[in-house]
């Protein structure tokens, strides 16, 4: 499926769902238990303090900003365990969120085509600084843990 480019397009629910479904699919592949997607909301500064590790992609083009997945370290360790991975070093945790970012990037490229220019996936401790005014948080529950997918984009020139 490829989104049709349109000069007057704004961010649509389907656009957000591309990222949501990318992550849900990732969890479905690596774990026996699916991640539960909870209602999305407009994010605030409080959300930025939640995640210990973040995998992100930066986007430019018709929209610009960033999309990232932030998760607590306990959730990531549990995920590694469920994959039979015994190494839980920080690098391994960053690799894991990097994998998620890579999934986000691949799906976004397929869906948005040339509407978005998507950077290579990046990882970091904590959450990145805000880049724009419009940020949407989509909480994901997996087992007892809560992770956040943040889509933070502004229209170019907005």
């Amino acid at each position: 499926m490829n989104a049709q480019a349109h000069p007057y397009a704004s961010l649509k629910p389907d656009d957000l769902n591309v990222f949501v479904e990318a992550i849900a699919h990732y969890f479905h592949q690596i774990s026996a238990e699916d991640a539960q997607v909870r209602p999305a909301y407009l994010t605030d500064e409080d959300d930025r303090r939640r995640g210990d590790y973040t995998g992100l992609i930066r986007i430019s083009g018709q929209f610009q900003g960033q999309v990232y997945f932030s998760a607590p370290s306990a959730m990531l360790r549990h995920l590694l365990l469920s994959q039979g991975e015994s190494q839980h070093s920080e690098d391994t945790l960053l690799d894991l969120v990097g994998e998620v970012a890579n999934t986000l990037s691949g799906n976004a490229r397929r869906y948005f085509g040339d509407r978005f220019v998507i950077s290579v996936p990046q990882t970091q401790r904590g959450a990145p600084a805000a880049t724009g005014e419009h940020a949407f948080a989509i909480p994901l529950n997996w087992k007892k843990y809560n992770a956040l997918l943040i889509v933070e984009v502004d229209r170019c020139g907005a």
Binding site: Y8, A24, Q36, P39, A40, Y41, F136
Partner: protein, 723 residues
């Protein structure tokens, strides 16, 4: 060639980068090909490029004809010269015969024999010699060897004339001496010896001169023959050279011309293979020409092939009347006097909508633009160049632009209307709306994963509906419309079975857009605040209710007289003012939409066409306030409410049977209850009275309802406010 050169120049300038350029180029190429074809068929008129070859062939024939004429002339000359030479030779013989005859006469005279035979021969010989001599001098007819007269040309050369002059000098005395003998005078016998003596003396001389004449004529003839051969050889050589020129020059020219035609055809093929438009020529029989662009079948379908009737190809896609009009239009364009530029507007196919199935068998709407251009050859229309373009994307973009333009205009008008609202009320609304939206966002954020989503949706719906009511009360169409859009999203979600978390992602997008607009309007409104006149809450509420009542009545085809008495509103605290106003808005909406009948229905019921709605806030002596909203409409119908509840599937017949009318009527405050089947911005979502119930609870008020079918409905809300 010139045309092709200019074509190449066109390509060099990048004319082909535009679609129209490609079409013009194709037309140009076609005209070149037509020109070549036509030139061949009109060769007899010797057009410019063939003039040279015709001249060269004519020259070749001229040279050949010249040589032929020369041959005739030469043979004539040779024949003439042969006569002269023969006669000159005969003169030699005649000079000797004259002498012989004279001597024979003298011998016969001495022997006493008759001399008649010799005399006759002498006469003949002298006459022939003299006639021939004059012929050589002046030309004329002379008796030939066989006795028939032959033309003798006078000797013209000076050397010949000199020989003749010398011979004349010998001949004249000789002839004078012979005359008495030839005439047979009486004394001829006495004259004979003198003639014989002159003959003997000059015989050899005359013979020599005649011999010289013969030799001279032979040399002259030989020289003339040599000269003629030379001229003949030159003529043949020129003819051969000319032939060689024709072969070399014109074969090269033909080869070059063929290469140009080939290159032009190659370019045409490349254009036809590359161009995105469907291009082809339409003949007077309205059939597609032999060359079509590769994209044509893709645009018009596989039937669009060379030789097929173009309008039959369109048959399944274009309505019959439009197709006939298009056929007539094309036929009209074939008229030589018809100006294409004046006909463009009449083209019924300039933009047509058609449905085609794609590879997956799904129907897809396309917009095609078909244009016809006359192709003239020699001033006559030989073909129509047809250009078929798929302009779907262009049309969609134009429509999107028009829609965006209309939306922008509508929003600008709405924004201007917003800015004319009382600034304090507007700012109050903006604050309150923002708080509502942020509250909704907090609800979303704090939503417990164990809770059902329909409860969440209903909660949001109530808040948005209230927001819509507030916007409507203030006449803020811009926000009312936005809230209505939000409601539509929530309705769609509410009706969706098995809601999941990611189905709700549209909600924060709506929140974000709403908050954005609130911020924008607030920014503008704040700048205008200082210049506004402030009104009391009661005055403002009165105005807003009047506006809202008028708008809802107009939207639903009702005629309503609204009476508002809200003076006591000023006595309430701002929070209670807001809550009372919100309740009144919902009840007003309910009264106009559900209560008041249409003017026709009212007339049939013997009621005034115009309905009445009365909103009144009354302060009782015991400190209680009472908000009454009364309409003289159809009243509440327990039967209809029962029917709606049964249809909703929420209650069984047994449950409904247990309730009395009062209990049934109170069910109208349940979320999702509505007696109308289609929702609009004022009713049909089953949330208005649910909001009223929530607000009444917030006020700690008591509700009572009085109603009588076809007469009236009155909602009465009694409450107290803290001292």
């Amino acid at each position: 060639m010139q045309s092709s050169a200019s074509c190449l120049a066109c390509m060099g300038k990048g004319v082909l980068t535009s679609r129209m350029g490609a079409r013009r180029f194709f037309l140009h190429q076609f005209q070149i090909n037509q020109e070549n074809t036509v030139s061949l068929s009109l060769a007899k008129w010797i057009p410019g490029k063939y003039r040279q070859i015709v001249y060269a062939v004519a020259a070749f024939l001229l040279f050949d004809l010249g040589v032929l004429v020369l041959n005739f002339y030469t043979s004539y000359q040779i024949s003439e010269d042969a006569v002269s030479i023969n006669l000159a030779g005969r003169q030699r013989m005649l000079s000797q015969r004259m002498t012989k005859s004279l001597l024979a006469m003298q011998s016969d005279a001495l022997a006493g024999e008759p001399q008649d035979a010799a005399l006759e021969e002498l006469r003949t010989t002298v006459a022939l010699f003299d006639t021939s001599f004059r012929g050589f001098e002046s030309g004329g007819e002379v008796k030939g060897g066989d006795g028939t007269p032959v033309p003798l040309v006078a000797v013209a050369s000076p050397a010949g004339r000199a020989i003749l002059a010398k011979a004349r000098a010998v001949w004249d005395p000789y002839l004078a001496a012979l005359q008495p003998v030839l005439r047979g005078d009486a004394s001829w016998e006495t004259r004979l010896p003198a003639a014989v003596a002159y003959g003997r003396a000059n015989n050899v001389k005359l013979l020599g001169l005649m011999n010289d004449l013969t030799s001279h004529l032979e040399r002259e003839a030989s020289a003339k023959a040599s000269r003629l051969r030379l001229i003949q050889t030159a003529g043949i050589a020129l003819a051969l050279l000319n032939f060689a020129f024709i072969l070399v020059h014109f074969l090269r020219q033909l080869r070059e011309s063929d290469q140009v035609i080939e290159a032009a055809q190659q370019e045409t093929q490349e254009i036809l293979a590359t161009v995105k438009e469907g291009l082809f020529l339409l003949g007077p029989d309205l059939r597609i020409g032999t060359q079509v662009s590769a994209s044509l079948p893709g645009i018009l379908g596989e039937r669009a092939r060379p030789g097929t009737d173009f309008f039959e190809v369109l048959d399944e896609r274009v309505p019959a009347t439009a197709l006939q009009a298009a056929r007539d239009y094309a036929r009209l364009l074939f008229g030589d006097r018809v100006k294409e530029s004046l006909m463009g507007d009449l083209n019924p196919l300039s933009l047509m909508e058609m449905t085609q199935t794609n590879d997956r068998g799904e129907p897809q709407t396309h917009f095609l633009s078909i244009h016809f251009n006359q192709v003239r050859v020699g001033g006559r229309v030989s073909h129509l160049l047809v250009t078929v373009q798929d302009v779907s994307e262009q049309v969609r973009l134009e429509r999107a632009l028009a829609a965006a333009d209309a939306r922008t205009r509508s929003e600008t008008e709405a924004l201007l209307k917003v800015l004319t609202t009382d600034s304090a009320s507007l700012l109050g609304f903006l604050d309150q709306a923002r708080q509502t939206l942020l509250r909704i966002n907090t609800t979303l954020k704090n939503h417990n994963s164990d809770e059902r989503y329909d409860g969440l949706i209903n909660g949001i719906f109530r808040q948005i509906h209230t927001l819509k009511g507030d916007a409507a009360m203030l006449g803020l169409d811009l926000f009312e419309a936005q809230a209505h859009e939000f409601e539509r999203l929530l309705i769609a979600l509410r009706e969706q079975p098995d809601l999941r978390g990611n189905d709700l992602v549209a909600i924060p997008l709506k929140l974000d857009a709403f908050l954005d607009r609130l911020a924008t309007v607030r920014d503008i409104a704040e700048r205008l605040t200082s210049s506004r006149v402030q009104h009391t809450p009661a005055v403002l509420a009165g105005k807003r209710f009047a506006q809202l009542g008028k708008r809802i009545a107009a939207d639903h085809g009702k005629a309503v007289e609204l009476a508002v008495e809200l003076d006591k509103l000023n006595a309430l605290d701002p929070c209670a003012q807001t809550t009372v106003s919100e309740i009144a808005v919902q009840l007003l909406r309910n009264a106009v939409v559900h209560g008041i009948e249409t003017p026709q229905q009212r007339t049939q019921l013997n009621k005034p066409a115009q309905g009445n709605v009365h909103i009144r806030l009354h302060a009782h002596d015991n400190g209680e306030f009472e908000l009454c909203v009364r309409d003289d409409g159809s009243g509440l119908s327990p039967a209809r409410i029962r029917e709606t509840l049964l249809a909703s599937g929420r209650y069984t017949v047994e449950q409904l049977d247990q309730w009395d009318h009062k209990q049934l009527i109170m069910r109208i405050f349940e979320p999702g209850f509505s007696t109308v089947t289609t929702g609009d911005r004022d009713a049909g979502h089953g949330v208005g009275l649910d909001v009223v119930k929530q607000k009444i609870a917030r006020l700690g008020a008591r509700l009572s309802i009085a109603t009588r079918p076809e007469r009236f409905t009155e909602f009465s809300i009694r409450f107290t406010v803290p001292a």
